[in-house]
């Protein structure tokens, strides 16, 4: 089916985009479009005005800057996949990127677009939560930052206000003693997660100084598991401590059973995946060299 008629706006600066978003009546922002274009074609959304931000070159950056890793609004999933910076220090990003959609989708779809779409099965929301990240939004009243744990309200609903444009997401810089990972259970290559877990571990000597655990696809939004993070902090990494964190994550999850698995099964998977993700994150925190060289290869297809 064809999309309904719309007006296509192409701002070339953030200021221009914010002015447009303020002036127009209920506009829609187009970034990668890999979810938006199909929903428009099926007329699930029929915006009169589409503000296409792909021409705003200043939003296309991926860099460490001061205290943060900053991911601009035009960074594609494939950019994350190919980034040496990500491969070196951000295991959870490196794990998640190649598990999203397929190569063509990853070439177009953006990380920020995926986060702001707030699909409870979206992968990046959990990565952002596990890293205690935030998004930066520009609106008619200026700029504000929204912490990840205040961003996701309901499926496809965020704390963003009408007229606001998310210009970047950022997470605290991953130090040498920090590691992270993302473990995703899916039925086939390119599928959404049945359940997935993002984990981050920062070590101080032998003990865990800080941790983050967040879940995909097992509640109405991506959710953090502060209980697990709290339990891990101050512990020496061990099978026992990861097991307890897994139990806490499973308790925090609230999955729905469907044709692919019962709620109990998914809860159990959360427990298992949390342990695996924590083990990988810890190995990466301790190890030297690129994060990508530690951990499970979840991309393997066939034998």
């Amino acid at each position: 089916m064809k999309a309904a008629h719309f007006e296509h706006h192409e701002p070339s600066t953030v200021d221009e985009a914010v002015t447009l978003l303020d002036d127009l009546d209920d506009p829609t922002i187009l970034a990668g479009g890999q979810s938006l274009v199909p929903t428009m074609r099926f007329r699930l959304s029929q915006p009169d005005d589409v503000v296409d931000i792909n021409g705003i070159d200043s939003l296309d950056y991926l860099r460490e800057d001061g205290d943060h890793l900053r991911v601009g609004a035009l960074v594609r999933h494939a950019d994350i996949e190919r980034s040496a910076l990500i491969d070196e220090n951000y295991g959870s990003f490196a794990d998640a990127a190649p598990l999203i959609g397929d190569p063509q989708i990853r070439n177009q779809g953006t990380v920020v677009g995926s986060v702001t779409q707030a699909d409870p099965k979206g992968d990046w929301g959990s990565v952002l939560l596990a890293h205690d990240g935030e998004v930066v939004a520009r609106g008619p009243d200026g700029e504000r930052t929204i912490p990840a744990d205040e961003l996701f309200l309901f499926p496809y609903e965020t704390d963003l206000r009408p007229g606001e444009l998310v210009t970047e997401l950022r997470v605290p810089v991953s130090g040498e003693n920090e590691g992270s990972s993302y473990h995703k259970l899916k039925r086939k290559v390119g599928d959404y997660a049945m359940a997935a877990v993002a984990a981050r571990v920062a070590l101080d000597g032998e003990t865990i100084a800080d941790a983050g655990v967040a879940l995909t696809g097992v509640d109405i939004t991506n959710i953090p598991v502060p209980d697990a993070a709290e339990h891990l902090t101050g512990e020496v990494p061990s099978g026992e401590s990861f097991k307890r964190a897994g139990e806490l994550a499973a308790e925090a999850s609230n999955p729905e059973g469907d044709e692919h698995g019962s709620a109990g099964y998914k809860e159990n998977m959360v427990r298992v995946l949390t342990q695996r993700a924590l083990a990988d994150a810890t190995e990466r925190a301790r190890g030297e060299g690129p994060a990508g060289s530690y951990g499970t290869d979840q991309l393997t297809v066939g034998d």
Binding site: M1, K2, A3, A4, H5, F6, E7, H8, L30, G33, Q34, V37, P38, M40, R41, V50, D52, N54, A78, P98, G101, D102, P103, Q104, I105, N107, Q108, V189, G190, L299, T300, V301, G302
Partner: protein, 227 residues
């Protein structure tokens, strides 16, 4: 609703179009440019039959609007034969196309244009991929006939050609004579003799002598052009 002017370079030729913003890139390619080699399979972004090579990467042309392709450079399956790599193998075809032909990488052929473009994107980045890398790379392209085995072999074949290695023998026995008649628009036949002598074009000798198969003397509707 206002139309927008879009300029894109398709298969090396600059094309100017005036399109409604809601028009998908795949519709612009198929209907406005009449390049119907790019297919629409699923209409949802799953199947990859609409894959084109845009600004150095494979994208699904049903998942973006034509206005988003303004200023871009696009290669479709029709442009493969004009690329510098074409002719490196045993034919004038691009090595990937030749691979699909030689290794029987297609049955119904519907997914093939998308597979070829996904294969091109992979080989541009890595001209000597492993089987697994090929499989990951075509994970956005569905084939309901082949079971993928021969598609992987076809792309591997192209990799062999690009790397100056001897590609494997085709598992398919085809006589060159009948293949050539097929390329001329005639019917490939199994007996070989008759087609070889008369050039295989029934239109020139007053009608089709065969009892089944399409009537090659009539004009079949091509679609697209009249819209």
């Amino acid at each position: 609703m206002t139309e927008k002017d879009v300029v894109m370079t398709v298969n090396g030729t600059e094309r100017e179009l005036s399109v409604e913003p809601r028009k998908l890139l795949v519709h612009a390619i198929r209907e406005d440019l009449n390049l119907t080699g790019t297919h629409i399979g699923c209409d949802t972004g799953n199947c990859g039959a609409c894959t084109v090579y845009k600004d150095g990467q494979a994208v699904k042309s049903c998942l973006q609007f034509a206005v988003q392709a303004d200023g871009s450079e696009i290669t479709t399956v029709e442009g493969m034969e004009a690329l510098p790599e074409a002719g490196m193998g045993d034919s004038d075809l691009h090595p990937i196309q030749e691979g699909f032909k030689q290794m029987h990488g297609l049955q119904c052929g519907f997914c093939t244009p998308g597979m070829i473009m996904a294969g091109k994107a992979l080989l541009e980045e890595n001209d000597d991929p492993t089987d697994e890398e090929i499989r990951v790379n075509i994970s956005g392209n569905l084939c309901r006939c082949t079971g993928y085995q021969n598609i992987v072999k076809s792309i591997q074949y192209a990799s062999d050609v690009l790397n100056d290695r001897e590609p494997p023998e085709s598992p398919v026995e085809h006589e060159d004579a009948s293949l050539e008649t097929a390329a001329d628009g005639g019917e490939p036949t199994t007996d070989g003799g008759e087609t070889a002598s008369d050039g295989g074009n029934p239109a020139t000798d007053g009608g089709c002598s065969c009892s089944d198969g399409p009537d090659l003397t009539m004009d079949y509707p091509t679609g697209g052009e009249d819209r």
